[in-house]
């Protein structure tokens, strides 16, 4: 495919803000050990690349997918834009196999932030000390107080558009940009919330409500989950990557890392670089440090596929925890028909939110929390949801689809418990690079099911209170977290609070795999805040000579 041509080379990389444009890019030789080889360019990798390059480190970012120019490459079309998803072979298993592909993956510079819903919420403070303060899950090795400056940094960098007064969480600075005008789909949530006597808010979103540099304000075209063709969306592709390039980082597109190489003598116990596939051949890049930022499937997969005599269980895996404790956000939907025209294809898909059940613990017969948002599926996704969830086909499906402009719905971001048996492993089947493919195993716990029943009941009552009729429900998930969790000791975690491997001191992890628990909000803002923090910590450690 011509669209998949290698672009970042010969001293230049695409300028994402200009049709056909280029910007200069520094390049590093294979034998020149760079300070940091970063595997993955999404919320974790791109953010950290920017932070490290701006701190003066030499950085090369490896991205398996292409380097898009949104203005040229993104069509207003669901089908064409499937190219944004990770569609290499994977097997999904367990009692509740997770749909992968477009649901929770990205392939291309910027990772899944290129097609994410832009929902930018902070964790509830107590979630960082879930076990000690709320009695479930695991404590994080960082506290909310330690995260606040980095949440602020990420929110400023992304120019989050949100309400002046956000109703949940500790007092905070106002969002950098004003909130967006609410669409009808969000107004349904608002009406329901008011009837139920709970608070709601305009969702803080990473798409600008006023001009920002070369980003025009959001025009509410509604294709956010299929890539933003105007650059209103503040994805990692347009925020962190250009900054990283300006600061001297190199990005290698269409470069799939297959293995991390360890020191041949095995004495130092250090990683010495990465093997990657680009331009039909395998190459080796020397590096003083390797950061894995491939998200909760590819990160453990790479560590497991890098097993060597010295580390037969895979890298960074003396705890045996690599790949385990996978969490996802359950997303059971409730849908209803309304008399009014809603036309939920307009505007970002999730413009209204309530975090009520993230912050209220009374009346729950489960541990954990959930937020829920208004929805805006486009026709292809909507038809596929009705086909797979209600088994509609034939005339019935076509008749139901005619109600498209009168539909509204609510879907939660519902916490699941981190459990050892939910995991990512590698199997003997290989992919187009000859690498062993991942198998993802997931089953809901009884607690996960009780939480979802609560959410479905509450959202159903709210949708009915808002005037919805003919309610029905669906099952789905979003996001993947927790397969290389961070912690306070080498026995019960893969990395420390800095994302640094306990076993291999120059191997780091920086993505959603770090999450010990997943909370009831979308993970991208927390991943970016963590990456900002890890960047700062690396700077400090380097100054002290501890790297």
């Amino acid at each position: 495919m011509s669209a998949e041509a290698l672009r970042a080379k010969q001293g230049r990389a695409p300028d994402v803000f200009q049709s056909g444009g280029w910007m200069p890019m520094r390049e590093f030789g294979h034998d020149e050990p760079v300070d940091f080889a970063i595997v993955g360019s999404g919320a974790g990798g791109a953010t950290l690349a920017c932070k490290l390059a701006e701190a003066g480190f030499s950085v090369v970012v490896f991205e398996a997918g292409p380097f898009w120019r949104p203005l040229d490459d993104f069509a207003s079309d669901e089908l064409e834009q499937q190219k944004l998803y990770w569609t290499d072979a994977r097997v999904t298993a367990g009692d509740n196999p997770i749909a992968l592909g477009g649901n929770n993956s990205g392939r291309g510079v910027g990772g899944s932030t290129v097609h994410f819903s832009m929902i930018s919420l902070r964790f509830r403070p107590e979630w960082f000390k879930c076990r000690s303060q709320l009695g479930y899950g695991f404590d994080w090795p960082v506290s909310y107080e330690e995260m606040v400056p980095y949440y602020e940094e990420a929110e400023q960098a992304l120019k989050i558009s949100g309400p002046v007064n956000y109703p949940w969480g500790p007092p905070r600075r106002r969002y950098p940009y004003r909130e967006h005008e609410m669409n009808a789909s969000g107004l349904v949530l608002a009406r329901g919330a008011e009837k139920m006597g709970i608070r709601w808010a305009s969702t803080p979103l990473a798409t600008v409500s006023a001009p920002r540099g070369k980003s025009p304000p959001c025009v509410y075209r509604g294709f956010c989950n299929f890539g933003c063709s105007t650059n209103a969306k503040q994805s990692a592709l347009i925020v962190w990557i250009p900054r990283a390039l300006k600061a001297g980082a190199e990005v290698r597109d269409l470069a799939m890392v297959g293995r991390i190489e360890m020191d041949g003598n095995g004495r130092s116990g250090q990683a010495i670089g990465v093997h990657y596939h680009r331009n039909e051949a395998w190459h080796f890049q020397r590096a003083k440090n390797v950061v894995v930022a491939g998200y909760a499937i590819e990160t453990p997969r790479l560590l497991l596929n890098s097993a060597c005599p010295q580390f037969p269980q895979g890298l960074a895996n003396s705890s045996g925890l690599v790949g385990t404790h996978l969490t996802t956000h359950a997303g059971p939907g409730v849908w209803a028909t309304f008399d009014e025209e809603i036309r939920w294809y307009k505007g970002p898909p999730n413009m209204a939110v309530t975090e009520h059940w993230n912050y209220v613990d009374q009346g729950k017969d489960f541990h954990g929390a959930y937020a829920f948002m208004s929805q805006g599926p486009l026709p292809r996704a909507w038809a596929q949801l009705m086909a797979t969830q209600r088994h509609l086909w034939g005339d019935t499906l076509r008749a139901e689809m005619l109600k498209y402009n009168h539909m509204a719905g609510l879907v939660p971001v519902a916490e699941t418990e981190p459990r050892a048996q939910n995991r990512v492993e590698v199997i003997d089947e290989t992919d187009q690079y000859g690498l062993r493919i991942p198998r993802v195993v997931f089953s809901y716990s009884d607690n996960d099911k009780r939480l979802q029943r609560h959410a479905v009941r509450f959202m159903g009552d709210m949708l009915a209170a808002a005037g919805g009729r003919d309610l029905w429900t669906s099952d789905d998930t979003s996001h993947l977290m927790g397969t290389c969790r961070m912690g306070d000791d080498p026995v019960s975690s893969v990395v420390n609070a800095d994302g640094r491997s306990w076993d291999i001191p120059n191997l780091w992890i920086c993505d959603g795999s770090l999450f010990p628990t997943c909370g009831g909000v979308n993970p991208s803002l927390t991943i970016q805040a963590l990456a900002c923090r890890i960047g700062d910590r690396i700077k400090t450690l380097a100054r002290r000579g501890e790297i």
Partner: protein, 196 residues
Amino acid sequence: MLYPHYDVLGKWDTPSFDDKTRGVLAARLHVIPERRFFTQHEWTLLDSIVARVMPQPERAQPIPIVPWIDDMLSSNRGEGFRNDNMPPMRDAWRAGLAAIDLESHRRHGCGFVELDAASCDTLLRAIERNQVDAAIWTTVPARGFFIDILVKTAAGIYYSHPAAWSEIGFGGPASPRGYVRLGFDERDAWEAKEAR
């Protein structure tokens, strides 16, 4: 018709369409792939299944679906992931189609393509409910293949076509011009008007 005066393609030369989108849609409308993956028999069989899954009796020129499934399989580019109980995509399609035909032979003594519409629907409904001869469905699970693969794919292709967007009143392409009026019962001049 719910949106009698609406045609998404009427916006082709307006600010709702950009060059990239025009290119993508021109290919979808006019460059229909030839058969490359399926055998002629599989193609015909799938065509008669799809005629029940996404029936379009009112259209002189139905939205093409089978050519795009063939195209997906020929290039072997699908969703990428598969359930544990499912073989790789191409094998699943071959095995699933063969099983549907075998079910037809077992019940009616003839192939699926020879059934009348009502018998087709009854048979597909039974497959949807896993009320099948287990000996026939050893490679792929009946419902899993029919609903999660065949119906999902066919519906996805149908609702990726501009004619289907016009049918349901979807705004369609919207770049660089998006929308201005977002509230209840609000509509920009370039959106579909519902017949009430």
